[in-house]
Amino acid sequence: MSLVSYEFLAFFAIAALLYYLVPGRFQWMLLLAVSILFYAGGGAVYLLYPLATAVSTWFLALRIGKEDSVSKAYIQEHKPDKEQKKAYQAHIRKRKKRLMIAGILLNFGILAVLKYTDFFLQNLNLLIPLAGEDGSVWQAGWLLPLGISYYTFQTMGYLIDVFRGRYKPEKNLFRFMLFVTYFPQMTSGPISRFDLLREELFREHAFDGTQFTFGLWRILWGFFKKLVIADRIAPAVAMITSSPETYDGIYVLLGMLGYTLRLYADFSGCMDIVIGTSQCFGIRLPENFQRPFGAKNLSELWRRWHMTLTGWFREYVFFPVSTSRFCRAVSHLAGKAGLKTLSKKLPVYTANLIVWFVTGIWHGAAWNFVLWGLANGIVMMVSQEFAELYRGFHRRFPKADGSVYGAFQKVRTGLLFSVLLMFQYYSFGTVFAMLGSLITTGRLSQLYDGRFAELGLAGADLAVLAAGLILMLAVSVLQESGSVRKRLAERPLVLRYTAVFLLFAAILVTGCYGRGYDASRFIYNQF
């Protein structure tokens, strides 16, 4: 069920009504029932995947928790000396680790098999002729269960946290199932932490008119970004990015900016709908975007873009890898060889490259996504290498730190992000060829050579896009000084009603939905 469908709106309305009608202690059960129903709407058989993940993770986490209890009880009963205690704890830790690894292998295994089998086979097919053989390997063509990457990451985060002893495992299987399948977030994130979401999911929620209204406003804003902006620009962007031989020169820039805009409006719009829906149930979800185009460098942008995913990678990949025995050993070796600076940086850079490799392949099972991820990592590493140079520049020219330079930094970062995104939709060689084409042949006059007319953007579309962008920018600027919704709520009734009504009418009339538009599927659902 798409988040931008009549079915979803009806589903949400009925679920919300029932939610506030049932006694508070049953609310989470109702949420579990509607979540399962929501997922089963896409095909009951696909429900097996999240349920398998939920049951296996719940069971293994419980076993890990049990090991802790057994260990505590043993120590209390037998009162071993320090050495014995240490040895026993190491033994328990090993057992816990085994359980955790079993869970990780099983669940990431399911994800890997379903998502990456074809990628693997495609590469195998490329290798067969090199080995002097004929023929090709079949393609699996398996359908990916909706949101599998999200709920797998979320549950694996939980398992690792339980292993690390951050919190106790959930004893109630059904409560845990709600954590895995909670319908607003299941298909597109945000990726939540159990200890934070638990409090929200399982406490009783009395109807709060303000929260409910705020939730609805946020949903409306998400619909605006998705239907009015992202889906309006999507067909034109697809044409430009899929036909580099036709759309070169200035169109490379147009495609680059359009792709970034669509990605942002689509994904952040989706998050607004998800978080707004959840807010209507009184459940706060973590934010996934924090005005990313206000960032002054790429690292900062990535701390504001898809925040829960980058946070997950930082927590569960970057830190463990950079502090791993392997990295420490390599660093030690480098230090011994007299490469002191390198020995310090090696663990961080290794972990960084691994994180960006995984980020790339998470976004798409293709080499261009891997290259895109690695390109981001490399740019950030290079940028870090030049950090001293930047500092020197600012010491030399202190006045260059004003608002104009700040604006330049934001624009530069946004452009850099867009350039790197080219790796997602062009092949490696084409990225450089198209950048070359933009620099050497890009002219504004190319916009009048007939190619623009073929993109299907009428004058009215451009006007709507321009107005939509101005509105998005204005909201973004206002957000810097606090919640826009809170400020709107403080305005007189007529004013706030008019503002919300205008937004609603704009979506209703200018939104790209219904027949004739192949919208309605969020880009990030595919992951």
């Binding site: 009215a460 009734l493 009603y497 009418a505």
Partner: protein, 365 residues
């Protein structure tokens, strides 16, 4: 004041609803240009007197018989509830809808709709259904005939379907904002241009000539509904040369008619008796009749219809009692107005066709 806020909220909600309704009316197609068929269904509700005969079917009905000639020459009051590619299920529900207002003595159903049960173009569904008044019949008609990606909510709130028209609004959208003008003559679509029948595509052989069981089901429903209401059902195949009407289909309809003791007239077989000249009586090379062919059809059908009990020459009388109509209205006056409108349109089209060789409104550049 405690009442101030609720009143303010109500007023704002009413204002919002009014704006949305206005926007909806603005973006809805007005069907006053090249395509006028979208107005046919709604025009039925403007009728002031009941009818003895109701014609049901697709373009083979609403373009092929003139109710004005049926009145003028036989005194038969009739109405065509037909639309472009009107499916048999839609005909059934339109008949159900009609029975909410009146009970005719006869229903003439054109059997060409037996060829296809499912719609292949959503626009046809919209043209047929949008003008229908809301009732259980409309609801069921939508459910029975909507295409896979059509939603009922888009029929309830047409703005959801037509919103993207904001990019292509025309002066007509403002001109006819308050209401479209009348385009049909008791459901008849008048065309006074002439395009002789020429070479038509060769009949394609089919692997299976049996009608869809769902078509049979709805034909049976139409027959039962008529029987329950004491209405005589007559089956007709209009004299359209294309799409082909196969002999195998003819046999099935003949058998059905015989089985249920229904009158069935295949006008293709009696086109000489009707007097149809395919070089002058069609405006689109044999697919549909022009006004001259439609008038000939009315003259042929008049005597047949008058044989049906309850179908009478109503000239010089007043309207009878019917659920949706007031009784006692002078029919001559009502129909004179219709005849005048018909004559004016016919004369205007004839003049334009004689002068230009085509009719501007229907001319595709």
């Amino acid at each position: 004041m405690r009442w101030k806020k609720p009143v303010c909220v109500l007023l704002l909600a009413a204002a919002g609803a009014a704006v949305i309704a206005g926007l909806q009316r603005l973006v809805e197609p007005k069907y006053m240009g090249l395509v006028v068929e979208g107005n046919f269904t709604s025009e039925y509700y403007e009728e002031t007197t009941p009818h003895d005969v109701i014609f049901l079917g697709n373009c083979e009905v609403y373009e092929n018989i003139s109710p004005i000639v049926l009145w003028r020459e036989f005194g038969i009051t009739s109405y065509i509830r037909g639309n472009a590619q009107q499916l048999i299920a839609q005909s059934y529900y339109l008949l159900e809808d009609t029975l909410a207002y009146e009970t005719p003595a006869a229903v003439v159903f054109n059997v060409s709709a037996m060829q296809q049960f499912e719609q292949d173009n959503e626009s046809y569904n919209r043209m047929t259904m949008d003008g229908m008044r809301w009732s259980s019949s409309k609801w069921n008609a939508i459910r029975a005939t909507r295409m896979e990606d059509e939603h009922i909510i888009e029929y309830i709130f047409p703005i959801l379907r037509f919103h993207s028209r904001f990019k292509e609004l025309e002066p007509d959208d403002l001109k006819y904002f308050m209401g479209s003008g009348k385009v049909a003559h008791n459901g008849y679509y008048l065309r006074a241009d002439v395009r002789p029948a020429g070479d038509l595509p060769v009949e394609r052989r089919r692997s299976d000539y049996s009608f869809d069981p769902r078509c049979w089901e709805y034909l049976e429903k139409i027959r039962t509904l008529c029987e329950q209401n004491g209405i005589r059902l007559v089956l007709m195949k209009a004299p359209s040369l294309y799409p082909a009407w196969y002999d195998q289909w003819e046999v099935q309809i003949e058998e059905y008619a015989a089985e249920h003791d229904l009158t069935y007239v295949n006008c293709l077989e009696v086109s000489d008796d009707i007097g149809i000249d395919f070089s002058t009586d069609t405006y689109d090379a044999g697919l549909h009749m022009n006004v001259y062919g439609a008038e000939k059809m009315a003259r042929y059908w008049g005597p047949i219809l008058l044989e049906i009990p309850g179908v009478e020459d109503r000239r010089g009388t007043v309207s009878g009692a019917a659920r949706g109509y007031k009784a006692g209205i002078g029919l001559d006056t009502v129909w004179q107005e219709k005849c005048d409108f018909y004559d004016r349109m016919k004369a205007s089209q004839e003049e334009e066709f004689a002068r230009l060789g085509y009719i501007k409104q229907f001319y595709i550049q």
